[in-house]
């Protein structure tokens, strides 16, 4: 199984699906101390749904943070 987080592929050899929470631990050092928001395959996933929303093979997660803007 492969998932993509911010365009980067992450192979997962054993699982068939994992929660968004579990997927984020692949990417974050201290997720609880960061400011970010998540979309799965282009759809917004609210923080309250990280534990119950499942990520499957081929899915794509976007993890976005504040930046400067005009």
């Amino acid at each position: 199984m492969n998932i993509h987080i911010n365009g980067k592929a992450y192979p997962l050899s054993h699982e068939t699906h994992i929660s968004v929470s579990s997927a984020l631990t692949l990417y974050f050092i201290e997720p609880q101390q960061s400011t970010f928001a998540v979309a799965l395959n282009g759809d917004f996933v609210g923080k309250a749904d990280y534990g119950t929303t499942m990520v499957k093979n081929g899915d794509s997660l976007d993890v976005l943070q504040p930046i400067q803007g005009g």
């Binding site: 974050f28 400011t35 943070q65 005009g70």
Partner: protein, 264 residues
Amino acid sequence: MSLNIYGQNLASRLLIGSALYPSPQVMKEAILASGSQVVTLSLKRQNPAAKSGQQIWHYLQEIVKQTDGHLLPNTAGCKTAKEAVTLAHMSREIFKTDWLKLEVIGDDYNLQPDPIELLHAAEQLIKDGFKVLPYCTDDLVLCQRLYDLGCEVIMPWASPIGTGKGLMNPYNLETIRLRLPDATLILDAGIGKPSDACLAMEMGYDGVLLNSAVALADNPVLMAKAFGLALQAGEQGYVAGIMQQRQTAHPSTPTLDTPFWHQS
């Protein structure tokens, strides 16, 4: 007089961007010097472990606290209504505001907004409870449609983003003001110099949103002050009532009792 954005009264009529400054410190000083109480920002893919996003976020939070101001997240980079709607929801979760600078780009060359996707996105976002500030072209009918959908604030461009070309089509902008007298109109994008902002205010616009003109100045802090003054001058000029242009010259010095050499 104050600027009203969805019921919020703001002392300054300037909305300012947070990008392109030489450093975060200069950004902060320039925004504070401008007097603006609305700062735009965005969201981008970043690994939170890199921490850079957190630093900027802390700076912007400090600025908002010091100015008793508001954040205005944008949807920069979106090309479809769906992308903009998703990004809007992500922004609302992070920034805890319903305000949204809605930006849906239709052309990569001049970064011109896509009017059709913009309308679709605005319609959905209003249903979702957002207070939408759409960035759009200076097309009267598009502005009217956005207003009819429920956008109380409309933000037509002066010229393409980052060009500094100023008001490309003053006639269009004046017509929008004339035809939408009750809308809050903010001129957004393409402002290059303080006189551009002053001109918009003299037309009766309610405010100006800019970024590059300050951030790319040799002295961003001084330029921020200059824009603050330009907006005040333009607004007072509009309120004072500008004289009608005339086709022919009229002497301003009284002609009665002119010196002898003019007497026949």
